[in-house]
């Protein structure tokens, strides 16, 4: 039985468009022009207990809006959501007792009080038994390294410190589902990796279902087997990470520096038998783009090395950024 079910979910925002100039702003005052922005557009998916799902998409794709609806902050314009059998915005109390939420952009803790006080307050709010609270706190202190931070007011923490405390706070009541919206935004590599390890461990130990939005795709590669990709509010991919890469990143890019300048007709002659596109910013540097299902990189490299003098070459690995761009530019739905 899925733990999260989302069905034809839609969210519209009404925003008003500012007109420019003095006269325009005067008109705004008297008569506003509203625009409907559809941030989430008929999205459906379901998630099984224990999955770690990456919810990805470019900036403004609608990731946060989806998370806010899943956590009960926003009321959907239409469509259905069930998380552990509950409708988030309708059965808010029961729902939020069983989820953990972290927004990378904004702390869920109280700004002016020390971390430990905030955690104690949460213990009361979520009615966590004292023994459980102590045990989890101890564990989080170890794994997240927050022991030294507990007596500092939240506003004095650095972003990385705050993020770790937020993560601990969101898991105190041992929720079966954890929502993370951009949990690693703005963090350095060390903190990022400690957070990733922590999420992995929580998932392994408690079988916690995790939904994670990010636009840092290395998070996804470290944590998720399944990826849901959205763009302009629409679902464009739902499936496992590896086949997404294989499917969409057939294209690779070979960067070559030549010792002598060479023009396009010369290169076309050399590579006449291979299906390759080429681009260049100057005659010493050329980039070859090819589909790896049609031609293997060693073949092209071998041909170039045998016919021309090459100073340096580099084969770019497929990145998920390219996947997004690829699917984005093709503008078509990729069925898993």
């Amino acid at each position: 039985m899925p733990i999260i079910e989302v069905n034809e979910l839609v969210k519209n925002f009404r925003t008003f468009r500012r007109r420019s100039g003095l006269w325009g702003s005067f008109k705004d005052l008297v008569n506003r022009k509203y625009e409907i922005v559809r941030a989430v557009d008929h999205i459906s998916f379901s998630i099984e207990p224990g999955e770690v799902v990456g919810y990805i998409g470019a900036n403004g794709a609608g990731k946060s809006t989806t998370i806010k609806m899943l956590t009960g902050i926003l009321v959907p314009t239409s469509g259905g959501i069930r998380v552990q059998g509950l409708v988030p915005y309708k059965q808010r109390y029961q729902h939020v007792k069983q989820i953990g939420v972290v927004f990378g952009q904004r702390t869920q803790l109280w700004w002016d009080i020390a971390v430990i006080e905030a955690l104690r307050l949460l213990q009361k709010i979520y009615e966590i038994p004292k023994a459980d609270f102590e045990a989890r706190l101890k564990k989080f202190e170890e794994v997240l390294g927050i022991a030294d931070l507990l007596n500092i007011p939240v506003r004095k923490l650095s972003l990385g410190q705050r993020m770790r405390c937020d993560l601990a706070a969101s898991l105190l009541h041992n929720p079966p589902v954890l929502f993370l919206d951009e949990p690693t935004i703005g963090l350095d590599i060390a903190v990022k990796s400690s957070i990733r390890d922590f999420i992995k461990e929580i998932n392994r130990e408690y079988n916690t279902t995790v939904i994670l939005t990010t636009h840092d795709l290395s998070d996804i590669e470290h944590l998720c087997r399944r990826v849901i990709m959205i763009d302009h509010g629409r679902l464009i991919y739902d499936g496992d990470l590896k086949s997404l890469k294989d499917r969409a990143v057939g294209r690779r890019r070979l960067l070559v520096d030549f010792i002598l300048p060479i023009e396009r007709p010369g290169l076309e002659k050399v590579l006449a038998e291979y299906p390759v596109e080429m681009e260049s910013s100057n005659p010493f540097h050329w980039e070859f783009i090819f589909d790896r299902k049609k031609v293997a990189a060693p073949e092209i490299i071998g041909q170039l090395l045998s016919k021309l003098e090459v100073r340096d070459l580099e084969l770019e690995n497929p990145k998920i950024e390219d996947v997004v761009r690829e699917i984005y530019t093709q503008g078509r739905q990729v069925k898993p």
């Binding site: 925002f13 946060s64 806010k68 956590t71 009960g72 902050i73 926003l74 009321v75 915005y89 808010r92 109390y93 029961q94 939020v96 007792k97 939420v101 927004f103 952009q105 904004r106 869920q108 709010i125 979520y126 951009e182």
Partner: protein, 228 residues
């Protein structure tokens, strides 16, 4: 800034002995009553007035909605403003000044009833301000309804008989400011003509508070959070 209103009434009564049949002491008592109940509201529930700025525009209402507690309760209690309690003191001194000048002596029961009426009046302020402040859920414009509330509050400080009929009806049944000072004061001032209104005060408080919670609930559903 409640002091401004007090200075106004004091200056006025330097030159004017009475106001449409109400003399200075009675006016001061009503005024003091309104300051005490308003001061209680400000001290304990002022955080409500931050709804637009701190919670809606800055998006902190997200955090409120993620906790398994009533959102209204959370916002109202998140901070206590002890500095506002000066208003209560000003109100109390006006009331006691009036009482001593009128040589009215209250027994313990009277004090208890008055205290209950003050709580009811404070609840009415809470209800009215909640309804007004909930409007910002829909108009998610930066901007405050605080100024309107404070201006409106001016109507609660004077005997409703100085207003014309339309305003009196509004203040009694629609925006029940008449119940935040004038009617409950009639208990101590002993105007039996109004005793039915005195006893209606708690009922009005409960009715309007329920209404306010309803409006709040609808408003919270319209909350749109902030774009990231």
């Amino acid at each position: 800034m409640q002091l401004i209103g007090v200075l106004f009434i004091v200056s006025l009564f330097v030159k004017v002995p009475s106001l449409k049949g109400w003399h200075k002491e009675e006016i001061f008592f009503i005024f003091g009553f309104s300051q005490v109940s308003l001061g209680l509201f400000f001290t304990f529930f002022s955080n409500l007035l931050e709804l637009s700025e701190r919670y809606i525009i800055e998006g902190n209402f997200d955090r409120i909605l993620l906790r398994p507690l009533n959102s209204f309760f959370q916002v109202v209690t998140e901070r206590i403003y002890w500095e506002e309690s000066s208003t209560i003191l000003v109100g109390l001194s006006m009331m006691s000044y009036a009482l001593s000048r009128m040589h009215l002596h209250l027994n313990a029961g009277d004090y208890l009833v008055t205290f209950g009426l003050v709580l009811a009046a404070c609840t009415i302020y809470l209800a009215i301000f909640t309804i007004l402040v909930s409007l910002t859920f829909w108009f998610n414009d930066r901007g405050s309804v605080v100024s309107v509330m404070l201006m409106l509050e001016g109507f609660s400080r004077y005997p409703v008989t100085i207003f014309n009929r339309v305003v009196r009806v509004i203040l009694t049944f629609i925006i029940p400011y008449a119940f935040t000072a004038f009617f409950p004061s009639m208990y101590v001032l002993g105007k039996n003509k109004y005793s039915i209104y005195v006893w209606m005060t708690p009922a009005v408080a409960l009715i309007f508070l329920s209404l306010a919670l309803l409006v709040w609930r609808q408003g919270a559903r319209a909350y749109e959070s902030t774009g990231s």
